[in-house]
Symmetry: C2
Subunit: 339 residues, 2 copies
């Protein structure tokens, strides 16, 4: 199944010109007569000529290839980002490698080695890098979209939402709806620590700004092992069983929110009236729930667009690329806060 295709040399022979001329015509560079151009183009087409990118890359030290590294493409949010980033890069002539690191430092390290070897022109981390800094020095443009970890000092671009503000705004929204005892529900794996911490900080800050004292009993946190849906529901049951009352829940994630809603319904609470709930991500979970869950949309389109833009800018040796891009989020009100 080896492919020994038509080369620029073959075209040159058939057209009775040199490879230099063929190259010029094909790349619309240099100068050549209209006659030779037509001839070359016709022959190239007849022969089904396709440029050999390996040769081109070798010569130009650029592969027109970008690597997309993500912890898990099968995750709804990440895969949407992957889709959009890939599309945008493709419009500019770049092909994308897809690399599932599975949040595994070793795997990621091996990937990066391979990618450097394969001469990728840039790296786009979607959803965070596992370990930092990577032990292998990478002298490439790097963009992080929705990075969920500590940000390091390297010359890289970060595109993300203002996580702190999201936590703040979610809390504010509930307070605006009249909630006075706002709980927080979070189920998270250790990997994604920074995001959660920032959101919690936003929550705390908002309470503080409203002079509401923090009730530790209303901070429902649990580890993420199996299903955050199930785990979140249990957190709520435990809280209610312990006799702690609340009239609002800031859930860090729609799955968590759905778990919360389910547990509340189970206990006969009128979700949206007695207790208002707001989730995060505007994922399918918030939409299939009854009542539909209010949530925070992270604006995937903008995240992807700004990320791709940043990468293309860096690729184009643009000097003034922002190092940190914040994409605005948006609160989507549904039944769990509107009642």
């Amino acid at each position: 199944m080896a492919k020994r295709g038509v080369s620029i040399y073959d075209i040159a022979q058939l057209a009775g010109v040199s490879t230099a001329t063929v190259s010029n015509v094909l790349n619309e560079k240099g100068s050549y007569s209209a006659k030779t151009r037509d001839l070359v183009l016709r022959i190239a087409h007849e022969q089904g000529y396709v440029a050999n990118f390996a040769a081109k890359s070798l010569r130009e030290a650029s592969t027109k290839t970008i690597a997309l590294l993500t912890p898990d493409v099968s995750n709804d949010f990440f895969s949407t980002l992957v889709l959009r980033v890939e599309s945008l890069l493709h419009e500019s002539g770049y092909t994308s490698y897809i690399c599932n690191t599975g949040s595994d430092a070793e795997r990621e390290e091996r990937y990066v080695r391979d990618l450097v070897s394969k001469q990728v022109d840039g790296l786009v981390y979607i959803g965070g890098r596992t370990h930092e800094p990577p032990s292998i020095a990478v002298d490439l443009p790097v963009v992080h979209i929705d990075h969920r970890g500590t940000i390091d000092m390297r010359r890289e671009t970060y595109v993300e939402n203002d996580i702190h503000a999201m936590g703040y705004d979610m809390t504010q929204n509930l307070i605006d709806h009249g909630c006075t005892r706002v709980a927080l529900a979070s189920v998270s794996a250790t990997v994604y620590h920074r995001g959660d911490q920032d959101q919690v900080a936003g929550y705390l800050r908002c309470l503080e700004d409203h002079g509401m004292p923090l009730d530790e009993n209303l901070v429902l946190k649990g580890p993420h092992q199996q299903s955050s849906l199930v785990e979140a529901a249990q957190l709520v049951r435990d809280c209610l069983d312990a006799g702690h009352a609340f009239d609002g829940v800031v859930a860090l994630g729609d799955r968590v929110a759905l778990g919360v809603v389910n547990a509340l319904k189970e206990r006969g609470v009128a979700v949206g009236r007695d207790v208002r709930v707001i989730g995060m991500d505007d994922s399918i979970y918030s939409r299939v729930s009854t009542p539909a869950i209010s949530t925070v949309r992270r604006n995937t389109a903008a995240l992807a667009e700004r990320g791709a833009q940043a990468m293309l800018a860096m690729l184009g040796d643009d000097k003034d690329v922002e190092a940190h891009v914040l994409v605005p989020h948006e609160i989507v009100e549904r039944a769990t806060t509107l009642g």
Copy 2:
């Protein structure tokens, strides 16, 4: 940001040997003394040498790269397949390109051209090819996973579920549960015609095998424009309004099934008792529903595994690669059929 890295020539110089020897050591080919090996290896490591794949590819006419083409990675089912296929190929040293064709023939065509130019070693279509056969001749191993279109005559491998059997088994399941008037609900875009047709055929065949006459009024079909969930619900309402009775529904897709369940609940029907419903895909939709929807699991893991295997086999010039692999499905019983 250009990378002018360490080359094999640099290593040769520093080690005081020839490039041939360095190449041999690095690839564990040919023969060399333990002493030179250690020396070369040490220097290569010190210099942070990374092989230039473009050069290697040019020389070997193989890029160790596979393209994954899918209509939409942000689709749950496809992205899971992409994830798994990528992982398996990566284990065998292949890197994967991700290509979102968006079910657009022109885009796909451009992709394939690019990919051939980039010298990919193989093509894996996930979820079907848009147009067939592609106008550009591809002399490459091609694997289709869950192909949703007509199968053509080329030397390619198809890995998929037995769609006809799925339709049959879903129907059989409802009949086993005592249903006597089994409806069919389908909302589909024209692109994915073959799959649906085969399933419908399975449904019809099963009815026939049980001597049940087909009632055209119970075949609820609608075009897919916006949300299949909403559209399916409307089909059910219309059917009920027209006074047609049924006690079972074979829904071609979990989203469709969810729409059906919602419409039935709305009309006060006891889903799982009065009317049993079975969906397809074992997606999130079937799991978040109340009652939980019985469904058919397509076995993503096996689809991906067999697909990757087939590709690797073709890559390895394996002569006896099956042209058509059928992956068994599995019925998952939940509340909508168990009552």
